[in-house]
């Protein structure tokens, strides 16, 4: 058994080790180079262009890029919405599930198109195989690709000079799904399958119990085992930072993550593309120090918070004192710690780590019940999202938000030393700062106003499952997660009500488009500028000092916005725990 800390190191090492060549590969793909990969897949790429009526050499300015993105996402939303409403009349529905309600179909469509994958339903009791494959899995690919092309356009804005163009949206989308997401998914899907994840279109299976039993008045002789095309969906769910589970229990379900090895691989898969994009940024700007700077900032934020989460989840729950319950950290006891809502094959430490990875990236997958996490481990989950999904963030969108914070830090640094702020030779002026602020500040507004409204009205309060401070945390989580396009949940909350379906659906849409369209505008504005040569007075956007500045800005904005709310939720709950511990002694 490896300790959770060793697992953390192993996850980061693997993600960096594979992320580096993947970043170089992606830079070559988007640069339009010809090499082994393009030689192999170019016919399919051109097939896409021919059928889509795409002219690859046709470059777009930021407005056309944004319009194409919005149209594409709008059609994706409508298709998915329609598919869910009509699933009972369509094939591949062996369990004969009924149509999804309008509110839930809206919520789910908004959720999967914005890469949130918040789920107000249980997959195995709601969605037909066709809805899972054609609706949810397709959007897993497309929403992830949308995130990646957003940051790609912004990077082009930084790299190009005196240009109006940011690339061609359709070309970028096609290359992303074809050269990056599909091959990685096929490989990961096969490994998941080898480990035990099912992949079948057959109906649910009836098992004949070897020890039938009496439950109430019923004599139970069978167990119905829910199946489906799980492995293929699971692979893209993690790689694309989607996080929507095939089953209600998400990655805690033994079919989604059959072994501790798949648990490990899923953690690596979640961080892989966000890290690869950081390296890609370094290759595209021809300034490797930028990769080092951004990756360091991400690690400085991620590692201490993840360690804290593991520490608190492995600590004994004082509530259980006097229950004669062993929470000892031994190998015969699944590693010990808080085992409520935790699977034996993973243990509490790995579950807390998975929670950190899933909330630090915008994946939102869950291999345990986050609602049952120790209060401060739950706080870490919340806080990772409230940092704006920067370390490591969603595929593409994470780096985009990080770049907005970097520009902010450059601006602050410029003010401190009294120089015109510049980033990689581009002057940062009032338009850029306005766009970056707009992008950064919309999320806290959504979270805090949403939570306040839900707490003020009976329809919001009715959803909570646990009483007191923890109930407040459930509501706070329900607005933090969709507004950041994360999608994880404190699962006790009854989210499938009209109030929560509509409110969280709106948070996802506004949180996605209001955060990233201004950044596209920022990219467009940067592209038009000329590149200034660095002088002795230029603030170097690299090195430990600058990393500190970036981390400081992120923490300051996150902490100032959210500490009061966190104080009412997880921190208050932790205080009652400390009190319980003192009373039990």
């Amino acid at each position: 058994m490896t300790s959770p800390v060793e697992t953390l190191i192993a996850v980061l090492m693997a993600a960096i080790l594979f992320g580096m060549p993947l970043g170089a590969y992606m830079a070559r793909i988007y640069g339009g180079e010809t090499f082994w990969a393009t030689r192999a897949l170019r016919p399919i790429e051109h097939f896409f262009y021919r059928l889509g009526g795409i002219h690859p050499e046709d470059e777009m300015d930021w407005k056309r890029y944004a319009i194409a993105l919005l149209f594409f996402n709008l059609i994706g939303t409508l298709f998915l919405y329609g598919l869910l409403l009509w699933q009972h009349k369509l094939p591949l529905n062996p369990e004969h599930f009924a149509a999804v309600t309008h509110a839930l179909a809206f919520n789910t469509a908004a959720s999967f198109v914005t890469n949130t994958n918040w789920q107000a339903y249980g997959g195995e009791s709601t969605m037909s195989y066709l809805s899972q494959m054609l609706g949810l899995a397709v959007q897993n690919f497309l929403s992830a690709a949308t995130g990646i092309v957003i940051v790609l356009a912004i990077i082009r804005g930084i790299v190009r000079a005196k240009s109006r163009h940011l690339g061609n949206f359709w070309v970028d989308m096609t290359r992303t799904v074809l050269y990056v997401l599909l091959p990685l998914s096929v490989i990961l899907g096969l490994v998941l399958l080898e480990q035990g994840a099912p992949q079948t279109l057959g109906a649910y299976v009836e098992a004949h119990l070897i020890a039938p039993f009496v439950s109430g008045k019923a004599y139970v002789t069978h167990q119905t085992i829910a199946l489906g095309p799980v492995a293929s969906q699971e692979a893209i769910k993690q790689l694309g930072n989607n996080g929507g589970g095939f089953f209600n229990a998400n990655s805690a379900h033994p079919f989604e993550s059959p072994t501790a090895f798949t648990n490990y691989l899923q953690m690596v898969a979640m961080i892989l593309i966000p890290i690869a994009l950081v390296f890609m940024f370094g290759y595209m700007t021809k300034d490797r120090r930028q990769s080092t700077m951004i990756l360091s900032a991400m690690l400085v934020l991620f590692v201490p918070l993840a360690l804290a989460s593991m520490h608190y989840d492995l600590a004994a729950n004082p509530l259980f004192h006097g229950l004669g319950l062993s929470q000892a950290h031994t190998a015969a006891n699944a590693g010990g710690g808080d085992m409520v809502g935790v699977e034996d094959r993973f243990g509490a430490g790995s579950s807390a780590l998975f929670g950190s990875v899933a909330t630090a990236t915008s994946t939102g997958a869950a291999n345990s019940a986050y609602d049952s996490f120790m209060p401060l481990s739950g706080l870490v989950n919340l806080f990772f999202m409230q940092l704006g999904e920067t370390a490591f963030g969603g595929v593409g969108t994470g780096l985009a938000t990080m770049l907005a914070f970097v520009i902010f830090a450059v601006f602050l640094g410029g003010l401190m030393i009294g120089r015109t702020p510049e980033y990689l030779g581009k002057k940062i002026e009032s338009f850029e700062i306005k766009m970056a602020s707009l992008s950064i500040l919309v999320m806290p507004l959504l979270v805090l106003i949403g939570t306040a409204v839900a707490t003020a009205f009976a329809a919001g309060r009715a959803g909570t499952f646990n009483p007191g401070a923890h109930g407040f945390s459930e509501i706070l989580y329900a607005f933090t997660s969709p507004s950041n396009n994360n999608g994880s949940a404190f699962g006790g909350l009854s989210a499938d009500t009209t109030f929560y379906n509509v409110a969280t659906g709106l948070c996802m849409l506004i949180g996605r488009y209001w955060s990233y369209l201004p950044l596209l505008a920022l990219g467009g504005s940067l592209a038009a500028k000329q590149r200034l040569p660095a002088s002795a007075g230029t603030l170097g956007a690299h090195g430990p000092l600058f990393v500190g500045l970036v981390v400081g800005v992120i923490l300051l904005i996150g902490a100032l916005n959210f500490f009061p709310a966190l104080g009412l939720g997880p921190i208050a709950e932790q205080m009652t725990h400390v009190h319980a511990l003192a009373a039990s002694k």
Partner: protein
């Protein structure tokens, strides 16, 4: 504008064909050929009949069997999930105390002993197929007594079913309850056979 719309529409349909059907069906095909056992849910068959999945917990009652972890969803694979009770929940503490009391009432030898956490806490999926080695060993006496088997034999059975971390690195040591109970069934059949032999 209409060209953008047309391209968006055509690319969406193309994605349906390629990622909605092509990709999962490709995996179905490869998987059914390469790993037919796992592809269909790791089903366990006895005499050709499906008795369960190696990865999905079943309910066992009575003293003659090893029991899995408590489940918030009554081990129903159509409704996977955990209890979602918070860490400071009084209801949670009451549930745990009640489960402990039921176990001790039934098996007095457990009184005053520390129970492994997974014996009375429910899992995240409600379908956790495993229990910890500590949990399995603690159940061995009641199974041995109910089945009239020597305790050493049952403990040996448990020991044989412990699966360590994968490659000694990944995850926790654990015992899969369905396999353990099937092993138990085989021991009993063998013992009966030996008794009947002349």
């Amino acid at each position: 504008m209409s060209r953008t719309f047309g391209t968006a529409l055509r690319l969406t349909l193309l994605s349906w064909a390629m990622f909605g059907l092509g990709y999962p069906l490709l995996e179905v095909g490869i998987n059914q050929l390469a790993f037919p056992g796992a592809a269909n849910g790791s089903l366990v068959r006895v005499n050709g009949q499906v008795v369960g999945s190696r990865l999905i917990e079943q309910r066992f009652t009575g003293d003659g069997w090893f029991h899995g972890r408590p489940s918030a969803v009554h081990m129903n694979p159509r409704l996977s999930g955990g209890s979602n009770l918070g860490p400071s929940s009084v209801r949670l503490a009451r549930h745990l105390a009640a489960r402990r009391a039921r176990l001790v009432a039934r098996h007095p030898y457990l009184a005053g002993r520390q129970l492994p956490a997974d014996m009375i806490t429910s899992s995240g999926s409600g379908l956790d197929p495993d229990i910890t080695p500590a949990n399995a060993y603690l159940q061995a006496p009641w199974v041995a007594r109910a089945r009239g088997l020597p305790l050493a034999m049952v403990r040996h059975l448990v020991a044989r079913h412990i699966r360590g971390p994968w490659l000694g690195l990944f995850g926790q040591a654990r015992v899969d309850v369905l396999s353990l109970n099937l092993g138990l069934k085989r021991i009993i059949a063998r013992a009966r056979h030996a008794r009947m032999a002349p």
